[in-house]
Assembly symmetry: C2
């Protein structure tokens, strides 16, 4: 039955101790008829039996034994061994290559030139015991890929995390970064936003450093005593403008095949406009200590033993970044098991294989789980089973540099994927702890049921119930009451899809329903993120000792793929989406209302000179101007559309899986591309590559999702006409989704009557 | 008129720009007839004209030029010069001495004995430039007065701020401090609570240190570059159990006169039970770095460049505290100007004169302002003016050790004070910034009007309007809307009286209406609090350059005294008190409700094993037991009493100052001791010395006020029968206050009819 189990879940899942819920279910699996459910569960048991922590660990150790950046020898070897594995196990597999713009650093320099001289070392020290960094000839210096070349000398300004709110704080202090080099700490927002915002503010260079308050000694003992970042550890990473577009900056929207039209580099909008370099806190402290000017605001203080000042000056720095801008080849490994019943309905599963250095945590931990799934599935096939739909497993290259491998593949095969792919399941770094899922809301019930079917390796309850227990205890600690807690934990909560991994081209560019999942929360601090200390030895001590959660990940992600591949009707559900959008629209109402009240209050306080009187006259702070009043914005079209979609979702929820296979086929046809109804061909303002209207990376956060982004970001920026356009566009979109859903419901009803 | 100006204030004070409000008022001063108001304002202008920043600075520099602890030579000299000043100016003045128990350190030792050896230095380094600490033979070592003697060796445990919630956190981690020495940082709660709680938890010793996150380099540049605490700076202070009783521990409740009965030291309940020593972060880091065990929770992290661990061990420490327990003499200087009309109605004004070392900030900054007031008032007297009521100015000794001088004086003269004193006005440390007031609510209107009449030296609006602007901007930053902001700033908000200065014996022991005030918020970090670096040179750079706010303080505190001394009818007002108590009672309803919901939620989560499932199994955390359910507590008697008092307050508010002087005399008689109706002779549970039923120091916070403490603290501790007793006692008390107020109102009405 497709009938909602929400209320039953509320009673079953919560009125009895969580541990008792983990028992053999006898109901139908969502999307399956009761007849097929037992067979599916039996299949999953056999799948589990094939998963081996030992073989996962072996493959993980081997793949993370040498530097794995794009273009490295070992990354290429890993592609070949991955291909070999797939083929040996019985998958149809190939390597698909793309040639992308890829700058490789040639000269990196940073020095303090006033009030004293200090040359940044820019190197990561060997760790006693010899675990890392290895004496590897292929080891690249720490850098940020897609930084512009540049050679600049200017006074320094400390800008905290370098986000929009930090520049607002600087403005209140009367400090400009125009013509300056900014020094920002990593964290809070996507690192690529930092040089972008710095450039927009007029800065000529950008230094990013890892403050010990964030992932160094303040957060936990530095490696090798603990998982924290050592004084010389540097966070590498991409500074591509990913919230504008992912993938090769020279081929936005199309695959970087040999014949693709490529932009001249000067027109590559997602490359930074100013040079940017990452440094350790061992280097950063010399620059921070040389700053004068006002004391940094309290929330700007880091963990170094000094008083943080903002500047500008007297510290002046010289920064040089020079790369070789050439084409580099990416190696995606793509494996397929053709579906027995619906070969043109695809379930795609992926994890990236490239890494900043060794990449044991990020992200070969997830890759090794994915390969274990592929091995187990192949074993089932050798025993005579076939998936009803086609399974595609992908080992992506170039994720770390900007989702390059997945994006070029998706752009190349966009039409076919839109016609065939129904679901993309993504993983990345995986460690000990609790299941965490971000996903298209239509997959919420699939996720909830799969999580109920996987046992947590430490507590022997389901990973769903363990995740819910953690959520409930957190909610309790924050002061929530039982009713709130129970409402929020009726099903495993899933987050909105933001950014940070290979689901982006699938979900947000071409509208394929996607799930991103992983375990975490009980690892020791990953203070070696994107550094040469991210090694297998570090991971097995601090990440997931014994790979127990690697196995749990394979069980979970594998079940998602297997159920989606075998279900009679795609296990999509629409009430969660309806609820989610209704909440988001309510949030927009509140946002506009609070912005309006804020502006009224702010203008009244300006009128009373309250800001002047509250300020310290000795600090000579700039005048606080009145904010613009907030005009009316009519959100009613959205309210109506949300109600309309909710009604359609309810109707669909009360239908049952039809007995007629023709009816099922027709329903599946309607549902395969359902997520695409939430996209718009024109995309979002200033970033047409992003076409999803409900959930994309926030332009001002980078990693976190912005929901209803066309409307929300226009409101936040005070672009009221644009907000109005997107209110109507989103409303129309929701209505057309409702139409499509009604068609599916009618087909279900007609099939059930046969 | 006594008619409430609340609504008018709302319109006048807020609908027009704040700066325009500061104009010559023509209305009657509250408590004055219109005829006398102009004369009073003229008097205050003449008073202002006598105040000199230069003479204040001269006296301040001189008094803070040598160590001023109890028993020091210079503190005695300061008493004598203060006496001389009062007498020269024309006050009737004397020194009144008390002999109190006063331990003086003989041997202080602290060493780390495992896993390595380190001997704590326990000394404050000289500062380049020679400002402090001086090479003064009288300089005492840094210590905590009223620490028990002891010589203990035990493993260390880091307990964060060492408050009740920190021990709850330790319990959740499964860590006990029984038999251990605890290492706690200064801050958050009164330092005396820390050894008390540590002892209650079974610890055998206690070390307190100043973490650089709180008042060292993290908060601001260390002295001499800025106002922050240098690495060797130590916070001295009292660890007397002040929330139980202030004053000489051998004479609780009676004055330490020569003939007083004294307890044997063993029976002195307010002395600590375990040895406790204060250290600098220069010393503390060696002990913290030697701790193992779990990583400290995130909110426990300080500013030292290391990972904070909780222990216990492997760090072991040896701690020795040995004092000479002898009697020491206190020198209070008490000066009087007898009232011309009502000599038996007293207005008392005080500030302490003793200090931990030099004490330029704490608290000779306030003392020098008070002396300037006394000088100016004496000048008015020489010009022929006399206060209508008696003014008593007091320079207290021994405040820093436990409010010794004021408490012994109040205890000695309790009957006379209860019969005569109508108001006590207290000050302490004073710096640049915004007026901050804690007071008995019946003084709210007096405070608001006085603050409206004093000009802020930097902005030229009233200190009231400047304080309100700061409050409004803070409220705006925290997200409040205009309506909220305007409601909260209809009058200058006053805090509840907690602890920390000499108002305690007046307000909380014998029920004299009290006001504690000072300026602050624009000083550079006072990281030299209670250290040898608290010098005049430090103060004049970072505290109140030019003593502009010293003058503002003298203007404000002096006006409070002068208006209270001259008013036709005591300028007390009762609507604020009624509102305040109504809010507090509403808070109690919410407290009980939220405790009940919390217990229900917690028990449900325990029943579901949620705490176990959410915990990391590798950490072996203890079982979380279910909390006790919250029984019914009938708060209705309190609701009724609050309504009754509010009605009486309204009636009083609509009366006018009577024309008949007999009627005024009768009203004044009823009002003089009004605050005493809020006390109960049995005092509070476990601390009978505290008799006020509405606002006293919290037993679990030490500094902060606990309102309706008999009820609130019983509820918080789950002592439900005691809570019920205090619900009835407080209700009866409020009703008898209402009766007394009704009598005053009737007298006003009868006098007005003449």
């Amino acid at each position: 039955v497709l009938r909602s189990r929400r209320l039953i879940g509320l009673v079953l899942g919560l009125a009895v101790p969580l541990a008792m819920v983990f028992a053999e279910p006898t109901e139908a699996i969502y999307g399956f008829r009761i007849e097929g459910s037992a067979a599916q569960r039996e299949l999953e048991r056999r799948f589990d039996a094939q998963l081996s922590a030992a073989s996962m660990a072996y493959r993980h150790a081997s793949m993370s034994s040498a530097p794995n950046h794009v273009g490295s020898r070992h990354n290429r070897l890993n592609a070949e061994s991955t291909l070999r594995n797939f083929r040996e196990w019985g998958w149809k597999a190939d390597i698909e290559t793309f040639d992308v713009l890829y700058p490789t650093p040639e000269r990196l320099e940073l020095e303090l030139i006033a009030p004293r001289h200090h040359r940044a070392r820019l190197t990561e020290d060997p760790i006693a015991g010899g675990t890392a960094p290895a004496d590897d000839t292929e080891l690249l210096p720490a850098y940020l890929v897609f930084s512009a070349d540049g050679d600049v000398t200017a006074p320094l300004v400390y800008v905290n995390y370098g986000l929009a709110e930090d520049y607002a704080t600087l403005a209140r202090l009367g400090i400009s970064v125009r013509g300056k080099i900014v020094l920002a700490r990593f964290g809070r927002g996507f690192r690529g936003l930092k040089p972008k915002l710095a450039h927009q503010q007029g800065a000529v260079g950008c230094i990013l450093y890892s403050d010990p308050a964030d992932d160094g000694y303040a957060a936990g003992d530095p490696y090798p005593n603990g998982g924290g970042r050592p004084a010389s550890g540097v966070q590498r990473g991409s500074v591509l403008d990913l919230p504008v577009a992912a993938g090769d900056p020279l081929t936005p929207g199309v695959g970087s095949t040999r014949s693709a039209h490529r932009l001249p580099i000067e027109q590559a909008t997602t490359v930074t406009k100013i040079p940017v370099l990452p440094i350790s806190y061992g280097d950063a402290r010399h620059f921070l200590a040389a700053l004068g000017g006002p004391r940094a605001p309290e929330s700007w203080r880091g963990g170094l033993p000094m008083t943080y000042h903002v500047g500008p000056g007297p510290a002046r720095a010289h920064l040089l970044v020079k790369s070789r801008w050439a084409q580099q080849r990416l190696y995606n490994v793509i494996a397929e098991l053709t579906g027995s019943e619906w070969p043109d309905q695809w379930i795609v599963r992926g994890n990236n294989r490239d890494a900043w250095v060794y990449g044991a945590w990020v992200a070969l931990s997830g890759h090794s789980a994915m390969m274990e799934e592929a091995k187990a599935i192949a074993a089932l096939v050798r025993e005579g089973w076939r998936p009803r739909r086609t399974l595609v497993y992908a080992s992506w290259d170039g994720e770390e540099a900007g989702l390059l491998g997945s994006t070029e593949w998706v752009e190349t095969h966009a039409s076919e994927l839109q016609a065939k792919a129904a679901l993309y399941v993504n993983t990345g770094a995986n460690t000990r702890g609790f299941l965490e899922v971000s996903a298209s809301p239509i997959t919420a019930r699939l996720v909830d049921e799969v999580a109920s079917a996987v046992e947590d390796p430490q507590t022997r309850v389901s990973v769903r119930d363990r995740a819910l227990a953690a959520l409930q205890v957190r909610a309790f600690a924050s002061g929530a009451g039982l009713v709130d807690i129970d409402q929020k934990s009726a099903a495993l909560p899933i987050g909105d899809l933001g950014a940070g991994s290979d689901f982006t081209p699938f979900a947000q560019h071409i509208g394929i329903a996607s799930i991103d999942l992983g375990f975490g929360g009980e690892e020791e601090l990953i203070g070696v993120y994107h550094s040469a200390y991210d090694t297998y030895r570090h991971f097995e001590r601090f990440g997931d000792p014994g790979h127990a959660y690697g196995v749990a990940l394979a069980q979970t992600a594998g079940r998602l793929a297997l159920r989606a591949a075998n279900a009679d009707v795609f296990p999509f559900e629409f009430a969660t989406l309806a609820d989610r959008v209704a909440e988001q629209v309510a949030g927009l109402h509140m946002l506009v209302q609070s912005m309006r009240e804020r502006a009224i209050t702010q203008r009244a306080l300006v009128g009373r000179r309250a800001f002047q009187l509250a300020a310290d006259p000795a600090k000579n702070l700039p005048f606080v101007p009145p904010e613009d009043p907030v005009p009316d914005l009519d959100l009613r079209p959205l309210d109506t559309a949300v109600e309309r979609f909710a009604a359609s979702a309810r109707k669909y929820g009360s239908a049952t899986v039809p007995a007629s296979s023709d009816a099922r086929d027709s329903v599946n046809e309607r549902l395969q591309a359902f997520e695409q109804c939430m996209t718009h061909p024109d995309g979002l303002p200033g970033r047409p590559w992003y076409r999803h209207l409900l959930s994309v990376p926030g332009v001002s956060t980078g990693y976190e999702a912005a929901t209803l982004p066309g409307i929300r970001e226009a409101i936040e920026a005070g672009r009221w006409e644009e907000a109005d356009v997107f209110v109507h566009r989103t409303s129309d979109t929701l209505k057309s989704c409702a139409d499509r859903l009604d068609q599916a419901t009618e087909l279900l009803a007609s099939g059930s009557l046969e």
